[in-house]
């Protein structure tokens, strides 16, 4: 190979003929997107006929969002004038159950995890283990964590409301501080639940109803100090004759 420079010139290649087709099909399949104010800075929200497909809460601007979207979904984005119906209301109430989502490309398991996360009310948290048990895969706790980590529509599907099984807040795709801020904005006493967790408490009960709950359950928060009892685990609660709350479902209902 005497003349390397000439030989290099021969390394030109034709693009596969399907490239133009693939690109143009992806361009036709464009999603719309809007920028709207979110709980912590602007949110970029992409949607199409199927539903909401992607949310960017990283707040790095529209350009970064478009690049992220193209890379993840292989479709382009175009700016829309109006957000999808019901979105503003859902963000306000923190309840996205009535919205439609485009979760194509996710596995059945991932979809089940995200649908379950949608049921966690604003101001409350549940554990990875709780989701795993509720969707009938009690051993798949780690897989629940990765499924939430891949959530294409964070904030709207509130994966930030899922915390470690030991009660600590844990990680978040956008960083742990963001998760704490989101929860704080929703009225969760982040430090309070971590202190409780650190002291070994997992459940809170009422000695008048003999029902036990996860600490952030709406019902648990109504229990007055005088009637409040705490438990380290569900066996402890059951041993004292307490049954799991029907709202937050802290444990499997035991057949009596």
């Amino acid at each position: 190979m005497n003349d390397i420079e000439t030989a290099l010139g021969d390394l030109r290649e034709k693009a596969p003929p399907r490239l133009t087709d693939r690109v143009m099909r992806a361009v036709e399949a464009a999603d719309d997107y809007v920028e709207i104010p979110g709980p912590r800075g602007p949110l970029y929200i992409a949607f199409n006929e199927t539903g909401i497909s992607c949310v960017d809460a990283a707040g790095e601007g529209p350009e970064a969002f478009e690049e992220y979207f193209v890379g993840r979904f292989g479709r382009v984005l175009r700016a829309a004038s109006a957000p999808p119906r019901g979105l503003a209301h859902a963000l306000e109430t923190g309840d996205g159950r009535k919205l439609r989502y485009d979760l194509r490309g996710l596995t059945e398991f991932e979809v089940a995890v995200l649908r379950k996360a949608l049921e966690i009310p604003k101001g409350e948290v549940r554990s990875y283990g709780w989701i795993a048990r509720e969707i009938g895969r009690p051993k798949a706790v780690r897989a629940v964590g990765s499924a939430l980590g891949h959530n294409p529509v964070p904030v709207v599907i509130p994966c930030h409301r899922v915390v470690r099984s030991d009660g600590m807040i844990g990680n978040y795709a956008l960083g742990a501080p963001m998760k704490r801020e989101l929860l704080d904005t929703e009225g969760v006493d982040v430090e309070g639940i971590e202190q409780l967790a650190a002291s070994g408490v997992r459940y809170v009960g009422s000695d008048t109803t003999h029902v036990f709950c996860v600490p952030t359950c709406h019902d648990a928060r109504r229990v007055t100090e005088r009637h409040r009892v705490t438990f380290r685990n569900e066996r402890d609660a059951a041993a004292h004759g307490y049954r799991p709350c029907k709202h937050c479902r802290p444990a499997e209902e035991r057949s009596a």
């Binding site: 390397i4 010139g9 390394l11 290649e13 490239l19 690109v23 992806a26 990283a58 993840r72 175009r78």
Partner: protein, 187 residues
């Protein structure tokens, strides 16, 4: 592909009607983008993905730019700048895309074309660090000027020239050594 041919009129047409002019843009500059991606990555599948993502990013960007800015675009260098970003993300595994695995060094090998071309193509990928490989491909495979390459890499022209020259020297050494040295493919 000199000025005055199709590329010369493309910025104007893209500014007027992005959608109608975009197919011709891919047809016109697809080979350049694909070749760059293929010779940088050494992987045909990755190259096709990089090329596609490059054009999709370009489409979004042009949609966002005002007409005056689109008319000013030097399309080939601009597309290759985007392609380089996409390629680097691909290799390093962008932090925001946890599902994507970075390319492993052993995937970065091509096997096509004649025997000599084969050796040369895989030597570029295996023996040249990215810093040299990128300018060597832009200069000697695609025939860009050093001024254009300096713009794409956002480095001074002299630096780019020196890196390309070092790359050529290293290529020559590696090819005479017979065994390509798998050096510095990963960073």
């Amino acid at each position: 592909m000199s000025e005055g041919t199709l590329e010369g009129t493309l910025p104007e047409r893209l500014a007027d009607d992005l959608h109608a002019a975009f197919g011709p843009l891919v047809a016109e500059l697809g080979d350049d983008v694909f070749t760059a991606a293929l010779r940088w990555s050494g992987n045909r599948t990755a190259a096709e993905d990089i090329a596609q993502e490059t054009f999709l990013r370009a489409y979004s960007a042009i949609g966002r730019y005002d007409a005056a800015r689109v008319r000013e675009l030097h399309l080939r260098a601009w597309l290759l700048t985007i392609a380089l970003n996409v390629f680097r993300n691909e290799v390093r595994g962008a932090s925001r895309r946890p599902a994507t695995q970075p390319l492993a060094a052993e995937e970065l090998v091509v096997a096509d074309g004649g025997r000599g071309a084969d050796d040369l193509a895989s030597t570029i990928v295996l023996a040249l660090p990215e810093q040299q490989r990128v300018p060597v491909v832009l200069r000697h495979v695609l025939g860009l000027s050093y001024a254009e390459i300096a713009e794409i890499l956002d480095r001074p022209e002299g630096t780019v020239k020196a890196q390309a020259a070092r790359g050529i020297r290293r290529l020559r050494d590696s090819l005479t050594d017979e065994q390509p040295q798998p050096a510095e493919v990963r960073r």
